[in-house]
């Protein structure tokens, strides 16, 4: 048999049939959030029901407030936001799907809670009604973000029509430098291949740098695959993955665990398996990174400067730079570290895990915030763990605000958002125009860099604070 990549093995394992050039793929678990109401409405309008409710999970994360929750969903002041949370909860109950509602002890972000619970397992096909569903590829699963219609299709049939993606291997080798984290790696990678560098591809991340990363770091990398255009990004499962799985509430136990482990160990690439495209990245060359523009590829080492459109010969690229600098209100040649900030946001499905909060706290304990700084843990479990470790106290002492779990100011729909013209260092995943609120300006950074920015009130090199 032809040697197969991990991506091809996962594809084959879930392939029901091919008709008219499209493949019907079997889905293990599907993840919903408040906006999936559009999908539920569509499903109901068509007179259909959820085929396998046990395999559908609903999360309240996009719309939940991150403070003042004592009165539950009914206590949310804004009626539009309140209804999204309540309607999703009611819809989940009505259709019998598992709900991690606003008052659930494990409430949190749809890309943080399922791995914590062991719902995501190696070898699975995972669907989420959110583009950052690629996060779950960190466990060696084939994880697709889909829109409301495709999600409704999955609910009705437990399958998804797909065309086989091209395969792209990104090999990242070398040790990460001091103060450099997974977020810097993925920002550097997107800057290298571009925001459409992986369009139409499923990405496998490999190499010694990836192997050395924690599961949290791997999730950060896979999470932002979509920011390079890749709908799927994954990493072959290894002993670190299996150690993560063991003992989680939804993980198999006893004999079933042994059997699962055998299956998961067979998921690596076969020797001689070929990818359609290969990219390499030298980890040692990556510095702490920040974006300066309006898409995630517009990034530079924190020691760098804002580019000068006048030096760009290609007219189209020059126009792109001009649009970015105008929106960001930045002058060409400005040192990134001279960019003054109004706000800092530490949170999101990209960077709100316990490891992220530890990295931020390590910096936070060395000073005081000069600007409004929020820490929004990714889940109740992360929140409790951080409090057990005393991280909340470190943040509070440094003048950071310690809040409740949710998507918060990444997607800026729950009432947490920037004011027009405000500039924010953010550990989230998108620096698109108006993303964090109309007129808001976003600089994407790692949690450590975000904490450094908080202490300085400007973009800052975290290495200088830690030294």
């Amino acid at each position: 048999m032809k040697p197969r990549t991990l991506i091809e093995k996962l594809w084959d394992a879930h392939h029901v049939l091919t008709a008219e050039g499209e493949s019907l793929m079997y889905v293990d678990v599907a993840l919903a959030q408040e906006n999936t109401l559009h999908g539920f409405v569509e499903l109901e309008k068509s007179g259909r029901s959820v085929a396998r409710p046990q395999q559908i999970f609903a999360f309240t994360d996009h719309y939940v407030p991150t403070t003042g929750r004592s009165k539950g969903p009914e206590g949310i002041a804004d009626a539009g936001i309140r209804n999204m949370v309540i309607d999703l909860q009611n819809m989940a109950k009505k259709h019998g799907v598992t709900l991690f509602g606003m008052d659930h002890q494990h409430q949190g972000i749809m890309h943080i809670v399922p791995p914590e619970q062991g719902i995501i397992q190696p070898g699975m096909m995972v669907i989420g009604n959110d583009s950052h569903t690629s996060t779950h590829g960190a466990f060696g699963s084939l994880a697709y973000g889909v829109g409301a219609s495709e999600f409704a299709h999955v609910m009705a049939t437990q399958t998804l029509w797909q065309r086989k993606p091209k395969t792209m291997r990104i090999v990242i080798d070398g040790a990460l430098g001091f103060g450099v984290h997974a977020k810097d790696v993925i920002l550097a990678l997107i800057a290298k291949i571009g925001v459409d560098g992986a369009t139409g591809c499923a990405i496998e991340y490999a190499g010694s740098t990836i192997a050395a990363l924690s599961m949290a770091g791997r999730m950060t990398i896979c999470n932002m695959s979509i920011e390079a255009g890749g709908r799927v990004g994954l990493i072959a499962p290894d002993d670190k993955t299996f150690a993560w799985m063991e003992g989680r509430p939804y993980a198999p136990t006893g004999k079933a665990w042994e059997r699962a482990l055998d299956g998961w160990r067979a998921l690596a690439n076969d020797t001689g398996a070929k990818f359609d495209r290969e990219v390499t990245l030298d980890a040692a060359a990556i510095a702490p990174t920040a974006t300066w523009g309006i898409n995630p590829a517009q990034a530079a080492p924190v020691t760098g400067t804002v580019p000068n459109p006048a030096e760009e010969k290609d007219a189209k690229k020059r126009a792109e730079l001009e649009i970015a600098l105008e929106y960001m209100a930045l002058r060409p040649g400005t040192a990134l570290q001279d960019i003054k900030l109004d706000r800092v946001f530490i949170g999101s499905c990209t960077n709100a895990r316990i490891e992220d909060l530890r990295a931020a706290a390590e910096v936070a304990k060395r000073g005081k915030a000069k600007i409004t700084t929020w820490v929004v843990p990714g889940s109740m479990a992360v929140k409790r763990q951080a409090e057990a470790e005393g991280l909340d106290q470190i943040f509070i002492k440094a003048g950071f605000e310690w809040r409740d779990p949710g998507c918060s100011m990444c997607t800026a729909i729950n009432g947490d958002h920037l004011q027009p013209g405000e500039r924010c260092a953010s550990t989230s995943n998108r620096n698109f125009r108006n993303r964090q609120g109309p007129g808001g300006r976003t600089h994407l950074v790692s949690p450590a860099m975000a904490a450094a920015a908080a202490l300085k009130g400007r973009l800052a090199d975290v290495r200088e604070i830690l030294n």
Partner: protein, 206 residues
């Protein structure tokens, strides 16, 4: 879903690459139930100033307020998976976006809503955008069955589209109905899948 067969409509050129779904439908409007309100939501933050007055953005005035087609640059519809971006295009009257490439999820979402995400090479998109720039309000034509775009100068460009996507658009076919004819195969698959993976489907330990 409304079938898509042929279209002759005003086309608006958009020269910027990487127009993301956040621009097509700003996040705060994702909670709006599907319906005519999405006409105003499309490109809301480009079309409206914070004080509520209208900007000079092309779609705000004739002839482009009657656009049925957008001719864009690469990576149109990148970013968030929100299908509300497609609702907004649709309610505005846009039935086709022509671009060198699309965000993968956006392209799928278009297909499920009777909107044609049509791919032409970079140079052809750029040439059509130039024509439209020179003749604001000019119409172009699309014939899905023949897989052709006829530009402002009357030149015909052939485009590729997967056969099944074409058929579903032409017939206005619902995907779920298409899948349900395979329910026996799905059941057979499940039997063998869970036989091979007896620890699945996932269950919480009590």
């Amino acid at each position: 879903m409304e079938p898509f067969t042929t279209l002759n409509a005003i086309a608006v050129p958009m020269h910027e690459a990487n127009i993301d779904t956040n621009q097509l439908c700003p996040t705060r409007y994702n909670k709006v139930p599907r319906g005519p309100r999405y006409r105003e939501i499309l490109f809301y933050d480009q079309r409206n100033r914070p004080d509520g007055t209208k900007t000079e953005f092309m779609l705000n005035a004739a002839p482009y307020d009657q656009s049925g087609i957008i001719v864009a640059d690469r990576n149109f519809g990148c970013g968030s998976s929100r299908e509300t971006a497609v609702y907004a295009l649709y309610e505005f009257g846009i039935r086709c976006v022509i671009a060198p490439s699309f965000g993968d999820i956006f392209a799928s979402n278009c297909a499920k809503n009777g909107l044609l995400a049509l791919t032409l090479p970079d140079e052809q998109c750029a040439a059509i955008r130039r024509q439209l720039q020179d003749q604001p309000g000019a119409k172009i034509s699309i014939d899905l069955a023949a897989q052709t775009v006829t530009d402002v100068a009357g030149k015909t460009h052939r485009f590729e589209i997967p056969e099944v996507r074409k058929r579903c658009l032409l017939e206005g076919l619902d995907d779920i109905a298409r899948t349900q004819q395979y329910s026996r195969q799905i059941e057979d698959f499940e039997k063998s899948y869970y036989g091979n993976n007896p620890w699945l489907p996932v269950t919480a330990r009590e």
